[in-house]
């Protein structure tokens, strides 16, 4: 098996047959995140300077914590990210996640997720690469296009 060298910038992109507003809702509303984002419950007002929090499905554990840096619904959201779901990642420096949504032809939107400033968070970088963001984004696409979460 080859191992991937973790970089401090990761970029993911997906085309989704949905409006930017629908994608914004999928990112910012717990009734959506619970169906594609590892069952997590998003909890934020998305006002810059306020917390970005993601809870376990029963809201007993805080999985991700950060601060909203920049918010321009339904086109752009940027926030810091600390992975609290794992003891190894919880002590690392915060990194940054930016969501960019661009409308395309034919009823599609392009969603780009940039996870960067990972210099002080190598374990987080490893955790979100590979299946991490890839599963989240393919799950969001399936949910928005079919109304059903991914089966597995």
């Amino acid at each position: 098996m080859s191992t991937m060298t973790q970089t401090t910038v990761q970029v993911y992109m997906v085309f989704i047959k949905a409006t930017p507003e629908e994608i914004w809702d999928a990112i910012t509303k717990p009734e959506f995140t619970s169906r594609y984002f590892h069952g997590s419950q998003i909890d934020s007002t998305f006002v810059p300077g306020t917390p970005y929090r993601s809870w376990s499905p029963d809201r007993s554990k805080l999985w991700v914590e950060g601060d909203v840096l920049d918010s321009d619904p339904p086109r752009r959201l940027s926030h810091t990210w600390r992975s609290l779901y794992d003891a190894e990642t919880a002590g690392e420096e915060p990194s940054r996640v930016t969501w960019e949504i661009e409308p395309q032809d034919g009823g599609f939107s392009k969603l780009v997720v940039v996870h960067d400033q990972l210099e002080g968070a190598p374990k987080t970088a490893e955790s979100v690469s590979g299946a991490g963001w890839m599963m989240v984004l393919s799950g969001m696409k399936t949910l928005l296009e079919t109304g059903e979460p991914l089966s597995s």
Partner: protein
Amino acid sequence: MNDDPVFKALADPTRRLLLDRLYERDGRSLTELESELEMTRFGVMKHLRVLEDAGLLVTRRSGREKLHYLNPVPIRLIHDRWIDKYTERRVSALADLKHELEESA
């Protein structure tokens, strides 16, 4: 979006090699990628363009440089669409067998 550009992009050894290079180290410039291939700059650019059109890589500007990032999401979507549906159980049995045979070899 349809799968054709992804399958077409993957149906070329140079393009698969470029993806493997980005998998090893992501966020590379054309100059870096070009230095590892025995091919003209123009040839590498053409292959990168096909990969970008298929969504298998995303480019971002960093100062004066254009950096190339591997985007594995389309491969995941092909997995969801094709592997899960038809062959996951059989493929994983064969993958286990291959793994076992190679381990013992």
